[in-house]
């Protein structure tokens, strides 16, 4: 047995070979995108693309940002992100405290309903909500994509937070209660600081899913060109006539919209993976 670990093992070589091939296949489309974004439009349409562009046309990035009202789209996206973050970190946490630490009639059935909303196809709500928003004048405003989040509609975040809150020892909160703290205080001053890891997880999820959302902003806000998000704006750019000539710009914009999520992933990988696995194991 010990010999197997020391010598070069053919099974291990095969393992590295498969993994490295897989990693290269996974990575290559991203490298290709980056390479495209640094070519001139002319080179691309002539099929003269090489892996390493010489010279690298960095001006594509500046021009891509100018083709679209990039700042405007970024601002719109950030409004939605801000609402999602507040909803996830404050409202969902508040609700999760109720489910995790308080006893009230009907808690278990209500929690079951909460869980089941995660499995419901969102399309069923989509059409009636679209018409409803139209009737109350919410279409082409930020409201359809901020108010539900601010009210803590996201069952998944509530679920994750509740799981964590349940694990906090009750001695800690009981001690505060004896000192006269009420549940609002206990939630804010004891549970919230202890929950930083899971709050980080939820914050990353909220950022990613809001940044990624396409159908919501397209349907509810897409009618007003000033309210496009980055995802919708990028899609519109692709649909512009002559989109083929825009390929380097499209790829530059794609890289730009990927950067924040990849950066956050790099920094918060630990929290993200923990969140993903929490979902899996509780299934």
């Amino acid at each position: 047995m010990p010999d197997r670990l020391k010598r070069i093992n053919p099974a291990h070589t095969l393992l590295y070979l498969i993994l490295t091939t897989g990693a290269i296949i996974t990575l290559i489309p991203l490298v290709w995108t980056l390479s495209t974004s640094l070519h001139s439009a002319r080179d691309i349409s002539l099929g003269a693309q090489t892996w390493i562009p010489t010279p690298a046309v960095w001006s594509n990035y500046r021009e891509a940002v100018d083709i679209l009202p990039f700042g405007r789209y970024l601002a719109n996206t950030m409004v939605l992100v801000a609402a999602a973050e507040f909803g996830a970190l404050v409202t969902c946490s508040f609700v999760a405290y109720g489910f995790a630490r308080l006893d009230f009639p009907g808690r278990e059935p209500l929690f079951l309903i909460l869980i089941s909303t995660m499995l419901m196809p969102y399309i069923v709500r989509l059409v009636p909500l679209f018409v409803f928003y139209g009737e109350i004048g919410w279409l082409n405003t930020y409201l359809p994509l901020t108010i539900p989040d601010l009210l803590g509609r996201n069952a998944f975040y509530i679920f994750l937070l509740r799981q964590f809150f349940r694990g906090i020892p009750f001695e800690l909160t009981d001690a505060a209660r004896i000192d006269g703290a009420n549940d609002f205080r206990i939630w804010w001053t004891i549970v919230m600081p202890l929950a930083k890891p899971v709050l980080a997880t939820v914050a990353i999820f909220a950022f990613q899913s809001t940044w990624d959302d396409f159908l919501g902003p397209l349907i509810y806000m897409g009618g007003d060109p000033n309210l496009r998000t980055l995802a919708v704006g990028l899609y519109q750019l692709k649909n512009t006539p002559g989109g083929d000539n825009l390929m380097p710009y499209l790829m530059a914009m794609s890289i730009l919209t990927m950067l924040p999520v990849i950066l956050i992933f790099a920094v918060g990988q630990r929290f993200l993976i923990r969140g993903v696995t929490m979902t899996g194991l509780k299934g």
Binding site: L15, T26, I28, P29, L30, T33, G47, Q49, F94, V95, G98, L102, D103, P105, I113, L114, T117, L119, M120, P121, I123, V124, R125, V127, P128, L129, F130, V131, F132, P148, L151, R153, A155, R166, F170, E171, T173, R177, D183, W187, W211, D212, F214, L215, I219, L234, Y235, L250, M251, I255, M258, V261, I262, F265, L272, I273, V276, T277, G280, L281
Partner: protein, 314 residues
């Protein structure tokens, strides 16, 4: 610190505090939970329950936001789906094909990758990060990237295939390859499920493998006799999520092909989207949404029921 016995005691937190408290605060405290869950409760009623219930109601009407009609038509919408709408069944077939191929492939590939990465190798963290990376790339950016990879003339894939002498394939403009293209793209992000499998694999007790080593079991037999049986709950979870998610495949097809060519990527959701937001036939769209809801519910219940036969809960 084991929280369990403590949890049981304080779950009815009011009960232990009761002797020192007056009955009035006891009674108020009993309903305090509602204050905490009230934001969600309001959101659930306004943005989940009422819209879902109205979808059921509207599915029996000819509700059209352009013509303004909204009459009770009984089951006409459902009958139209089954025998009137010539694009309905193609969209169902496309979706089933997509679910039937991409979900099993994704599970096998994701599980296999997790098995490989669960061995004691160097750079394990780096590999894991790399494979997971596509799962965080925003959908629209990922789709644009793949449109370019699939480009018939200058795309990366056809260039690579050209090296080994394969003629250019019209990935996105031929009905024979369009679904395959979307499936290939979906496999790019198997890193998401891989991470879930990895967590499951790491929770398998090491002593089981040690016992098997004593018996001289091979890697293969350990995989099939220990790993896979113990992983069935996680596989089950991914299967369910995969099926539900793939039934609702939309973004990639909408951006990449718009349902074409020749309706070969017109998936159920795409057909529903066009019915509602281009034809403004909200009643019929609601009927389609309700039908999808029923199918997802049935699949969930079926997978759940059948899991009793093959899922191993320790």
């Amino acid at each position: 610190m084991s929280g369990l016995p403590v949890t049981d005691r304080t779950y009815s937190g009011a009960a232990i505090a009761a002797p020192t408290r007056t009955p009035l605060t006891w009674r108020i405290r009993k309903y305090l939970g509602f204050v905490f869950i009230s934001p969600w409760l309001i959101a659930f009623l306004a943005f989940d329950l009422i819209p879902t219930a109205s979808a059921f109601w509207y599915s029996f009407t000819d509700w059209n936001v352009i013509s303004g009609s909204s009459n009770w038509v009984g089951t006409a919408n459902y009958r139209e789906m089954i025998e009137g709408d010539r694009l309905f069944w193609p969209s169902v077939r496309n979706t089933l094909y997509y679910v039937g191929v991409s979900v099993p492939l994704g599970i096998v590939a994701g599980f296999f990758l997790a098995l490989l990465l669960n061995t004691k190798i160097r750079f394990q963290g780096a590999y894991r990060t790399l494979f997971y990376l596509p799962a965080v790339v925003p959908t629209v950016a990922a789709t644009l990237l793949w449109i370019w990879v699939f480009d018939t003339r200058n795309g990366l894939l056809n260039r690579a295939l050209g090296v080994v002498g394969v003629d250019p394939i019209r990935w996105l403009t031929s009905p024979d390859y369009s679904k395959q293209a979307l499936i290939i793209m979906s496999l790019w992000s198997i890193g998401g499920s891989m991470v879930i499998y990895l967590a499951g694999l790491q929770s398998i007790p090491e002593d089981l493998y040690e016992a098997a080593d004593v018996d001289g079991a091979s890697w293969l037999s350990k995989t099939f006799r220990i790993t896979i049986p113990l992983m069935t709950p996680t596989i089950f979870f991914n299967l369910l999520l995969g099926i539900i998610g793939s039934f609702q495949v939309f973004n990639a097809a909408f951006i990449m092909t718009g349902g074409g060519p020749v309706n070969s990527t017109r998936f159920y959701m795409l057909h529903l989207y066009e019915t509602a937001f281009q034809d403004s036939r909200m009643g019929y769209a609601c009927a389609m949404a309700v039908a999808l809801f029923m199918v997802v519910l049935a699949v969930t219940l079926f997978v759940n029921w059948s899991s009793k036969r093959w899922v191993f809960y320790s």
